[in-house]
Symmetry: C2
């Protein structure tokens, strides 16, 4: 019943490493994109989801479910993507409030160019550092930390 409040040193260390390393790696991936004159990672996430969704596109609230973005964040991010011609907003037939977001050809192309850089970063930062076994080990351990414990 008594909720244990104080984390052990080992727990603290795992936490600290998780926070520090993830930020470092993220930053390095961002830097690589910037150096290539490409948009930030957040754009990739959205373009990726939309590309997977295909011609049907996605509603903004579906993007929110699939990513970790807040509602207002998606709203403005989509505005920027639209301004850059990477996505288009279509009215939705049976819901006057909603819209469907679809990637444009330019959006697909941008995503492709981002992936060339981003994928290379991932390979350098993780693929080259851990064996396949270690990679699945860390995936499994991280999976246990998800909240809430999701499938996959």
């Amino acid at each position: 019943m008594t909720e244990k409040a104080k984390p052990s040193p080992e727990t603290i260390k795992a936490w600290a490493r998780l926070m520090r390393v993830s930020r470092q790696l993220m930053e390095r991936a961002e830097d690589a994109l910037k150096e290539g004159g490409l948009p930030p990672l957040a754009w990739y996430d959205v373009l990726h989801e939309l590309a997977e969704a295909g011609e049907g596109g996605l509603r903004p609230f579906q993007l929110i479910e699939r990513t970790l973005f807040a509602q207002y964040n998606i709203s403005r991010l989509l505005a920027r993507l639209e301004a850059d011609g990477l996505v288009e907003k279509l009215p939705v037939a049976d819901d006057g409030r909603g819209q469907t977001i679809r990637v444009s050809a330019k959006g697909r192309e941008t995503r492709r160019r981002m992936w060339a850089i981003y994928g290379r970063s991932i390979e350098e930062l993780v693929g080259a550092k851990l064996s396949p076994d270690e990679q699945s080990m860390i995936s499994a351990l991280l999976g246990r930390l998800r909240h809430p414990p999701t499938a996959d």
Copy 2:
């Protein structure tokens, strides 16, 4: 010689989990602090370093070395901390450019209150989810991903 450019699915999965889980957990820790009416995590990091440094305090550039903050970020963060009376800036005897930052009593107290919440979050989010062995396993794996490969 040929740099392998394309990450394997397993590598991508490890990357995706790392990014997603770390953000989720960070967010939950932030939320807990906010709910307790306490300052954000960034403040904790700085107060923590300063508390460890003791009476001697630290120079801003030393904080930059010890944390992942950018220079301008530290500069403004310290301004906010000073405005809240959590730290004091002292001139440095042998370097007219510099300053020494020292935690105030109020700063120590704030850190203590933050840790009560933050520590509990860490315990809930990591301590309760992984066994000690798993925790040291994930620490070790994350350690391999650091850049550059540092000691400890």
